[in-house]
Symmetry: C3
Subunit: 207 residues, 3 copies
């Protein structure tokens, strides 16, 4: 899909007749194919996946024509990153945006490079204060501790870097995240349609 | 006008009695005088215009008293940049903000230095998704391709720099933009009150 | 209080069972104890206060578990900085946020490191344009000129730096601010429950 997107973006990019690109449709709702991310495929393969993804996102900002994201539904993970990487985004009110990777043990560190640069970082809602706060806290507690720790540290680190350095940092972190025991457990659980059982230990799968 | 603004800002700036500056009135609605920007005036003159403009905008942030923009109407191009350069902005609901330089073939690259640092970058509106998206796409297509390409590339580049380096980058780009065949065509068309005929070629007027 | 907060944050921080921290309660409404900031305590003591504060704020972002601010009331000065330093903030509508240090002659330069990185910088309200603008201008004029000048210059400077360098810059500035005649006058007036009489001169208390 990333290669198809890249090919599509590069088609006629230097033609004078290409003036603007509109991206729409189900591409926003798809994240990475988790079956490609099991440890069976190996670290080098994982590195290639996230490098390709980062390259395509950077490409969108580097080509000479404006790219508009037209969103009407769910935009998640790399799909949400794709919206944030476009020059302009137009979305219906029923559209929702999420980076749910942490639920399968893979913190959305590369999406955060684009999203952290596109939207204000703090959200301050209404009156159900304790309910909201505890709800967020519970969602954190249902996640793997080392995955959250890696994601939090990486967010602070990459936000202080330029875009290209930030993508290099975050791409490597995605691979490190996959090598974590909990990174692989989350993906296995997703494939086997069961709830993940986190070790909460910062250990690699091959330690 | 820029020189008058500079003089006004510097008047009594070191006096203990000057404590705050309020800028208001038609100054926000005026961009550059396009007649000053034809190729007849030459590259050096253009460089001076944009350097002076960048210096005045930086000056507003560098003087020791707070500067408040009081806006009640249209703020465009360098006027919009002026609002974004002030320490505080107060505007009525009927106020509008725009950087329409691309319509006359001169992308607002220097205004984007201040605006890109003052407001969030993505806007996500309502339900008329396709209409909105196609409307934006059409406005892009009515612009000169090399002008848009130069503007897009410059935005990404200057946002990764500190303010002073960003203004140096963007000021030079404004001059390069003016040297483009389409940069001069846009300005000539504006002066002659006709629609511009873009070449869409990244060629300089003297090539 | 800062030391207590630091101890609380560090308690069990490396335990696998700690997964999220929620900060709530009156901690947000307390700024620094102004009695600690009189010139009688000396420059070294002041430096220690602001360094400790900056360290605790950075610590919140550097520990491996997410920290949620649960706010239901007034968050001011270092309390407002604390909210901005948390990974996530949830606040009721009755919550208010302010950095009122300038009223006692001590510009909130260290809070601005966190707040300037967490919220968009410009606020554009409604129709009472002149009233609003003049209200802001009057509040500026009721403040000490050298204190405002120091605060404005520091904001521009620290925003161009990385977080840790920004805190080093701002911490030193807080101490310089305290050494100003008007910095001490503001604090003395607060302690003596009278209105401050600003000198508006950029002189140190021991000059």
């Amino acid at each position: 899909m990333l290669e198809t997107l890249r090919e599509n973006i590069l088609t006629d990019v230097d033609s004078e007749d290409l003036r603007v690109i509109i991206i729409s449709g189900p591409v926003f709702s798809s994240g990475h194919d988790l079956k490609e991310l099991t440890s069976a495929r190996g670290r080098e393969y994982h590195m290639k996946v996230f490098q390709t993804c980062s390259e395509v996102m950077a490409l969108i900002q580097d080509i000479p024509v404006p790219v508009i994201a037209m969103v009407n539904g769910i935009a998640t993970a790399a799909g949400c990153q794709l919206v944030a990487s476009c020059d302009i985004a137009v979305a219906t009110e029923k559209s929702t945006f999420a980076t749910p990777g942490v639920n399968v043990g893979l913190f959305c560190s590369t999406p955060a490079v684009a999203i952290g640069r596109a939207v204000p970082r703090k959200v301050v809602p209404e009156d159900r204060l304790e309910e909201e706060t505890l709800g967020i806290a519970q969602r954190v507690c249902q996640s793997s501790r080392p995955v959250v720790a890696l994601g939090k540290a990486t967010f602070q680190r990459q936000m202080a870097q330029g875009r290209d350095a930030a993508y290099a940092t975050a791409s490597k972190v995605m691979v490190d995240n996959l090598a974590l025991r909990d990174g692989q457990e989350g993906i296995q659980a997703f494939i086997e349609k069961r709830k993940p059982v986190w070790s909460h230990k910062p250990e690699n799968v091959h330690d």
